[in-house]
C-alpha cells in the first residue's frame, strides 16, 4: 500500500511538471523589467491578464527604474517599469501612466497639531526638534517613525526633503504602511509617513490617525490625482515606439477601469476617475 501510494504521487508530479512545461513553451510572452515599486502591481495585472487571455504569460522582473529604461531600449524587455516621469534624454520612449503614488505624514488623531511646514518636518526627522511644544503642540516628546532601508516610500521621502538616510534620527523603524499606521494609532505622540492611499483608507475606516500634507498642500488621493500634491510621482510603464498587438492589449488593460481594485489593493492611486 505504502509503495503504491508513493509511485502514484511521483507519477502524478512528473506528469504535472511536464504538462506545465508544455503549456509555457507555447505561450505568448510579455517581459517587463524595472522599478520594484511597480513590479508587485504588474504581477497582479499579469495574473488577471493571463486569466482573460489564456496562452499568454506576463513575466515581471525587478532591478530599478534605470534597468527598465535600459532593457526597453535594448529590446531585452517588451515593457519597462519606471517610477518617475521620463526625463528629456528619454524622449525615445513612450510613457503610459498606470497609477500614482503619494506620501502623507501621519500623526495620532488626539495630537492637536494640524499643520507642519517642510522645515519643521526636516528638523523633526533630523532630531533637531524632539518636542511637540516647539511646533505648536503640547509638551510631549516626539516619536519619529522611519521606513526600512530600500523601501521606495523612504526613497521618495528623502528625495523630496533632500535628506540622507544617515541624517535621520528614528525611534522606530517599520516595514510596510500598515505597521506605520498601527504604530501611530497606538502612540499619541508619534509621527510617520506612509502611502496616501493606505492612510486615507485607514482614516476613513476608523483608525486613530490624521493626515498631514507637505508643502502647504492637503494630502489626499484627490490632490495627487489632480497633480498639485508635491510629494508624489507617476508610476509609468514605458515602450519603445507605439505598442502593438498583445503589448497594446496589456497596456490598455493596465489603464482600464478593470484594474482599479488591484491598484487600490496596493495602496496606489488609480488614474481612472470614477
Amino acid at each position: 500500500m505504502r509503495k503504491k501510494g508513493f509511485w502514484q504521487i511521483l507519477l502524478v508530479t512528473v506528469m504535472l511538471i511536464t504538462l506545465s512545461a508544455c503549456e509555457r513553451s507555447n505561450a505568448l510572452k510579455i517581459t517587463l523589467t524595472g522599478s520594484s515599486t511597480i513590479a508587485p502591481l504588474m504581477m497582479e495585472f499579469g495574473r488577471a491578464f493571463e486569466k482573460l487571455h489564456p496562452h499568454t504569460r506576463i513575466d515581471v522582473q525587478t532591478g530599478g527604474s534605470s534597468r527598465g529604461i535600459e532593457d526597453t531600449r535594448a529590446g531585452l524587455a517588451d515593457i519597462g517599469m519606471v517610477s518617475r516621469p521620463l526625463t528629456n534624454t528619454e524622449g525615445d520612449l513612450i510613457a503610459h501612466t498606470v497609477a500614482y503614488d503619494g506620501i502623507s505624514l501621519i500623526i495620532n488623531k488626539t495630537n492637536p497639531v494640524s499643520v507642519l511646514s517642510d522645515e519643521q518636518i526636516i528638523a523633526i526627522y533630523q532630531g533637531k526638534v524632539n518636542n511637540w511644544q516647539t511646533v505648536g503642540g503640547p509638551d510631549q516628546e516626539i516619536t519619529v517613525v522611519n521606513k526600512a532601508e530600500g523601501r521606495s516610500t523612504l526613497e521618495l521621502f528623502l528625495k523630496y526633503f533632500k535628506l540622507q538616510n544617515k541624517q535621520i534620527k528614528a525611534d522606530i523603524i517599520i516595514g510596510d504602511n500598515q505597521q506605520g499606521i498601527k504604530t501611530v494609532a497606538g502612540n499619541l505622540w508619534a509621527i510617520a509617513y506612509v502611502s496616501i492611499g493606505s492612510a486615507e483608507y485607514e482614516e476613513q475606516h476608523g483608525s486613530a490617525i490624521k493626515l498631514l500634507g507637505v508643502g502647504g498642500k492637503t494630502a489626499s488621493t484627490k490632490s495627487v490625482k489632480q497633480g498639485y500634491y508635491p510629494l508624489s510621482r507617476p508610476l509609468n510603464i514605458v515602450t519603445k515606439g507605439a505598442p502593438q498587438g498583445l503589448k497594446k492589449e496589456f497596456i490598455d488593460f493596465a489603464q482600464s477601469s478593470q484594474v482599479v481594485d488591484l491598484v487600490n489593493q496596493q495602496y496606489f492611486i488609480s488614474i481612472v476617475t470614477p
Partner: protein, 279 residues
C-alpha cells in the same frame, strides 16, 4: 521481504533528505553572501554601522539585539514554564491538570503573527505610556516569552512525567514531603529533558521574525536600556529583503549566515553541557 526493503530504502532516503536540507541551506547562504564577503572582508560585518546603501554593513548591533531579546525571553519563560509544569504534575487535581494542559497545547498552536499583532496594538501603546517610544527590547522579550512559554511547559511536563512512577511512590512511602520529592527526585531526573526543551525554545526565539519585527522598533543600535528599540538579525532580513538589490541583498544573506552560525554554536554548546552533566 521486498516490501520491507523498499520501506527501509524510503526511510533512508527521507533521513538523507532531511539531513541534506541543512547542507543545502548553509551552501546557499554562503554562495549568496560570498561575493560581498570577498569584496569587503569578514571584519566589515562587525565594524562601523548598518547603512547598506552606503557600504556600511556592520551586523554587531543586530547580533546583540537578537541575543538580548531571545535570551531575555528564555530567562523569563523557563522558570515560569517549569513551575506551571510542576503544578500540573504534582499539585493540580488530575482533571484540572488535563484540561489545563490541553489549553496550553492550544496556546502553543497560536500563530506567532497573532502575538505580534497583540504586541503592536496593546502591549506597545501600554509601554508607551510609561516609556516612549514603547517599541522596545522589553516589548520583544514579553511577546517572545509568551510565545515560547507554552512549549517550555509542554516539554517540561513531558520530562517530568517520564520520571518512573516507582521512584515517586517509594519516596512517598519513605515519608518525603511533596516539595522534597520534587526538589530531590523529580527535578534532577527530568533536568536533561527540560534543558533540551529550553534549547529548542532558544532556537525558536532566535529565529522568530514577524512578532519581533512588529514590537521591537527595529532601530539599529546597541540598546542601553530595556525601553530602547532594537533590531534583530531576522527582522533585518524581513524588513529589507523585499527591495534589496546587489550588495545590500548579499549583506542580508550575510545576516542569515551569522544567525545560522549563532544557532549552531548555541546548540553545540548546549549539547556539550548536557553531555558533561550526564557523564
Amino acid at each position: 521481504m521486498r516490501t520491507s526493503r523498499i520501506f527501509q530504502l524510503s526511510l533512508k532516503t527521507s533521513a538523507l533528505l532531511a539531513a541534506s536540507v541543512l547542507f543545502f541551506i548553509v551552501f546557499f547562504l554562503i554562495c549568496e553572501s560570498a561575493p560581498l564577503l570577498s569584496k569587503v572582508g569578514f571584519s566589515a560585518f562587525f565594524e562601523l554601522n548598518w547603512h547598506p546603501l552606503d557600504g556600511e554593513y556592520s551586523l554587531s548591533a543586530m547580533l546583540v539585539g537578537s541575543l538580548v531579546v531571545a535570551f531575555g525571553a528564555v530567562i523569563v519563560a523557563t522558570p515560569l514554564g517549569i513551575m506551571v509544569a510542576l503544578f500540573g504534575q504534582f499539585y493540580a487535581p488530575e482533571k484540572l491538570a488535563k484540561a489545563y494542559l490541553t489549553m496550553i497545547e492550544l496556546l502553543a498552536g497560536v500563530p506567532s503573527v497573532v502575538y505580534g499583532f497583540w504586541g503592536l496594538t496593546i502591549l506597545v501603546p501600554w509601554i508607551t505610556l510609561w516609556a516612549p517610544p514603547g517599541a522596545s527590547v522589553l516589548a520583544g522579550i514579553i511577546v517572545l516569552a509568551m510565545m515560547i512559554l507554552p512549549l517550555v511547559v509542554l516539554t517540561s511536563d513531558a520530562a517530568l512525567s517520564s520520571v518512573p512512577r516507582k521512584y515517586l511512590t517509594s519516596a512517598q512511602a519513605l515519608g518525603l514531603s511533596r516539595w522534597g520529592i520534587i526538589y530531590r527526585l523529580a527535578l534532577p531526573i527530568a533536568t536533561p529533558g527540560i534543558i533540551s526543551g529550553v534549547i529548542l525554545q532558544s532556537g525558536r526565539a532566535l529565529g522568530e521574525t514577524m512578532a519581533v519585527l512588529m514590537v521591537t522598533g527595529n532601530v539599529v543600535q546597541i540598546p542601553s536600556s530595556w525601553f530602547q528599540p532594537v533590531r534583530t538579525l531576522t527582522a533585518n532580513i524581513a524588513l529589507e529583503m523585499a527591495y534589496a538589490v546587489g550588495d545590500h541583498r548579499q549583506a542580508l544573506f550575510m545576516s542569515g549566515t551569522v544567525l545560522l552560525l549563532l544557532t549552531i554554536i548555541i546548540v553545540a554548546l548546549a549539547h556539550y553541557a548536557l553531555k558533561e552533566r550526564r557523564a
